[in-house]
């Protein structure tokens, strides 16, 4: 029983955050500073999510991320870009 309560509490909290963010944003104005903020937000969240991981992966992490980003910029192909990054890290970890 305590297990079920713990899981239910975590599930409810997480769902409230997900739906709450969307519903709150609906209440915000769609003009001016709020719009500027909301339009910039996706990029800044995503780059904040990934940046510490790249740094933690060290020098080769930076190299791999650079070529991943370059490929994504040139081709727009997410899958191929991901393979390039992973490929560089696999080569480095197993052969260097």
């Amino acid at each position: 029983m305590p297990a079920l309560i713990t899981i239910a509490a975590a599930a409810i909290i997480t769902y409230i955050l997900r739906i709450g963010g969307l519903l709150l944003s609906d209440k915000l104005p769609r003009t001016g500073n709020v719009k500027t903020f909301m339009d910039t937000l996706p990029g800044t969240i995503l780059i904040s999510l990934v940046a510490p991981g790249i740094i933690a992966a060290g020098f080769w992490g930076l190299i791999a991320a650079f070529f991943t980003g370059l490929c994504a910029y040139k081709t727009g192909n997410v899958f191929m870009s991901m393979l390039i990054g992973i490929g560089i890290i696999i080569l480095q970890r197993n052969f260097l």
Binding site: I7, A8, A10, M38, T40, P52, A65, R93
Partner: protein, 231 residues
């Protein structure tokens, strides 16, 4: 009728787009499955977490804190802190849900993970993407997550050392590629640099995932301040 087919197409497209990253999700799920055995979490409890919580890093922390006398309050607070970023993630989905009903929002928002969220926003920059794409991606990630965690629990981890196969880096690579697809041009330079600096510093200083919130909000505030300066 036509509209229904469009939704099905979107769900299928979203599902397919998330398949590559789903492989990594499954491999990491198998690691959680093994951890769960050590903590005496049954596979049914694990499956229940997957379906009802559906948030990887918070599930890792939950399983890690699992013990015979469960600290319910502490676990709930930890989950709140780690998943707080979903408030921002949910808010950033506003354009995807424009014009949809409240019921539709309630049904679609449960299956939002970092992976399918980022994939959906990147796709929306290229063309018209609906919440069906997001939901399809969620179904894909959920399937991979369940397959990974449960087989890890029943059979052991897929791979003994995920690092040798760069599975840890797969997430970094895919999120890097998706970040680039969100690039809007010069206006993003200053906000993104600010976000990177704030995220790296706060990741060192704050627990959990707060760095995403600090970097995300801090970076997005920059264009407001620079606009004021111009005036």
């Amino acid at each position: 009728m036509l509209k229904k087919f469009e939704i099905q197409d979107q769900i299928r497209d979203g599902f397919t787009a998330n398949l590559p990253v789903a492989a990594s999700v499954a491999a990491y799920g198998s690691v959680l499955g093994v951890l769960a055995i050590q903590k005496n979490v049954s596979w049914i409890e694990l499956l229940l977490m997957n379906i009802s919580i559906f948030a990887g890093s918070s599930q890792f922390v939950m399983v890690d804190m699992w013990q015979s006398k469960l600290p319910v309050i502490e676990i709930t607070l930890a989950v709140l802190a780690i998943n707080f970023r979903y408030l921002l993630i949910g808010a950033s989905l506003r354009p995807i849900f424009r014009g949809t009903s409240l019921g539709h929002k309630f049904r679609m928002m449960h299956l939002v993970a970092d992976e399918n969220w980022a994939m959906t926003l990147a796709a929306s920059r290229k063309g018209n993407v609906s919440s069906g794409y997001l939901f399809g991606g969620g179904l894909c990630i959920l399937s991979a997550w369940c397959i990974g965690t449960i087989s890890g629990h029943r059979l052991g981890a897929f791979v003994q050392n995920p690092e040798a196969f760069a599975l840890d880096f797969a997430f970094i690579a895919v999120f890097t590629a998706l970040t680039i697809s969100l690039w809007r041009g010069k206006t993003d330079i200053l906000p993104w640099i600010t976000a990177v600096i704030l995220a790296i510093i706060s990741e060192k200083m704050l627990p959990g995932k707060w760095y995403i919130i600090v970097g995300g909000i801090g970076g997005a505030l920059i264009p407001i301040f620079s606009k004021k300066k111009e005036k």
